[in-house]
Symmetry: C2
Subunit: 385 residues, 2 copies
């Protein structure tokens, strides 16, 4: 029986039943290529158009502002590299806590004549105004500040930052992958504040892997990463992944409809879990900052995060460590280091991220098991000492 308690919703989410049911007909019945000019093709095109309307409605954008991509990493790269390709090399400003799929393309630009300013964050993980102003003084042509961080759940006041950046006239992007479905995300409001592009992704909100969108102010000139047949207004060629896009549309609709209820419920579970963690001596990261209602990021002095995650896994609880996920030699989280967390404590980082199926019983169970594992680990350490 394959059913450990899943507490890693920031990594990915199960596909919702409504989403899967909407996708299924597009595999073996309505399987057309959306570019084909026959009944199968038209059905596929209609499905993609409907999904585009749903995604746009969920994030307060116009359907023509939605550019579908294969995932959030691609959408973030499309903005950073695509916009840079249409500009003369200048300054790009990103926060020091961006996801690698923003940071790495920004660093690629830095090797091609661009100047990269990684804006510092404070101890709670918020972008520091003074360093943001230093970045603005360089008149950055491109800016990318995430709406909510994947590790800490800390929310940036992106609208205020964009307002402040307006006079420097750069293109302002925000990675909203972790924000969507957990807090309100409204492109129109952000756009009025000065945000020109937003990344949202399907598999973080109960949709399938394989679909995401760059929501894009049409004034921004972008060179495609994938050139070819001219799909997505020439910004992203390739046969549309119709089932995934359809699923993304349904997931967006559900996420937008349920965001308030979800947030209320999850905030309660988050408080419960954090209370229990603090009682066990944990440090909670991002305390004092506004955070996503589902994310709990903590460390326990003297306990290695990777080891603890392994123990919890064997005990039936699936959570994440703070280490770089695909690295064989885990480094402490760059997010925590940027927040000034000591490397020893950062190595202890564990992330719990709640979602639709999370319950109070699961939180209780998790705290019990954690308590037990800690006693074992610490007893072991005490014996070894």
């Amino acid at each position: 029986m394959f059913a450990p308690v899943y507490l890693d919703y920031n990594a990915t989410t199960p596909v919702l039943d409504e989403v899967r049911d909407a996708m299924l007909p597009h595999f073996s019945q309505r399987y057309g290529n959306a570019s084909s000019r026959h009944e199968y093709g038209r059905a596929a095109r209609l499905a993609v158009d409907t999904a585009r309307e749903r995604v746009a409605a969920a994030v307060g954008a116009h359907p023509t502002e939605v550019v579908f991509t294969s995932g959030g990493s691609e959408a973030n790269n499309l903005f950073v590299r695509g916009a840079a390709a249409c500009l003369k090399p200048g300054t790009i400003a990103i926060s020091a806590i961006e996801h690698p799929c923003v940071r790495e393309p920004a660093r690629l630009l830095a090797r091609r004549g661009w100047s990269l300013h990684e804006v510092a964050v404070d101890r709670a993980g918020r972008v520091r105004s003074d360093d943001f102003d230093r970045a603005l003084a360089k008149r950055p042509a491109l800016l990318s500040i995430m709406l909510a961080n994947n590790e800490t759940g800390v929310i940036q006041d992106v609208a205020a930052l964009a307002q402040r950046a307006k006079p420097s006239r750069g293109w302002f992007h925000s990675d909203a992958v972790q924000a969507l479905g957990k807090i309100l995300v409204n492109f129109r409001a952000l756009n009025e504040a000065g945000v020109h592009a937003l990344t949202v992704s399907s598999h973080k909100i109960g949709g399938p892997k394989g679909a995401a969108a760059l929501v894009l102010d049409k004034r921004v000139e972008i060179e495609p990463l994938v050139a070819g047949g001219g799909h997505e207004r020439g910004l992203r060629s390739g046969t549309e992944n119709v089932p995934a896009i359809v699923g993304f549309g349904v997931a967006c609709e559900l996420a937008a409809r349920q965001v308030y209820d979800n947030a209320t419920r999850l905030t309660r579970l988050q408080a419960m879990l954090e209370g229990g963690l603090v009682a066990q001596g944990a440090t909670i990261f991002g305390l004092g900052a506004e955070r996503l209602p589902n994310t709990i990021y903590f460390a326990l002095e003297g306990v290695d995060g990777e080891t603890l995650v392994g123990q919890l896994d064997r005990a039936g609880y699936a959570v994440a460590s703070g280490a770089a996920c695909s690295s064989a030699n885990p480094e402490p989280s760059h997010v925590l280091l940027a927040m000034g967390v000591a490397p020893e404590l950062a190595r202890g980082a564990v992330r719990v991220s709640l979602g639709r199926d999370s319950t109070a019983e699961m939180v209780d169970g998790f705290l019990l098991v954690l308590n037990e594992k800690l006693r074992q680990l610490r007893g072991f350490t005490a014996l070894a000492a």
Copy 2:
């Protein structure tokens, strides 16, 4: 009831039942992120690894040579742009009949200091040796010649071309998207002849949309299009689309197992269909060249392809025209123009592409309906004249 006869398998294919069944558990049960270090993550990783082995086995490659992407267009762009980014600008040689997702990135390079040689083809659609030699004289750093053309089905002797290109020491890529599942595709053999990279795609062989692979000789240095978490040996970041990759793996296994039977069966239907078309006065494109067993590309003097495709659609037969699929103002096919077909005849081009569910009855039915439509169209034209 939504079931016109589907004769457009080169555009996309229905997902096979075995494929869909293999994918389903990965939506709502084994839904983990393959980078997660818990039970759900390991299950996802294992599924991706197994799929990688299946794809590799189907194309005669080593699993570590398989780089998963979101589609064939991305894989082709990854080769052309990714390899170019690691080289000093030089010459890139492609055939004049490449798919737009090879041609467009090549043309982007041409705007960045590269010299682009589009190798001419003969009247049957085969790469012309004399012009290929002219391209080689420029010592191209990159070459891309497709294995089989999506419109005509004409097969190039890529092994022989790669052999001839060996002394010029460029990286040789071949788009095998239309070849896979229809003829034998063996990367090891092609690699020995001098081919360094191969693109294959899932949704053309009964797999889902959203997965493809660049099969890559490890000596080729490639800069990723999507940088970030370092997935796919750093060549393609982003959460793996596990269900699609799993489906691709199963589809590859089935395609490799059934390629001979399929080819035999389809060759018979192809001959039957072409016999009937010639009897109705059609010109068959690519005659005289070795072609895929499933593709029939024809035109009838004085009959517009788009119009005919529309008529056939309304009569319950889904086929493709030769015009650029996503264009509002259809131009005649660049493939046919490169073959020296007169633009008036090229505007008449219609493509029928057969697949797994195609039968002799469907071919008969198609020929009957075509005959009827032609009489109507020509009668109409005669009346109008």
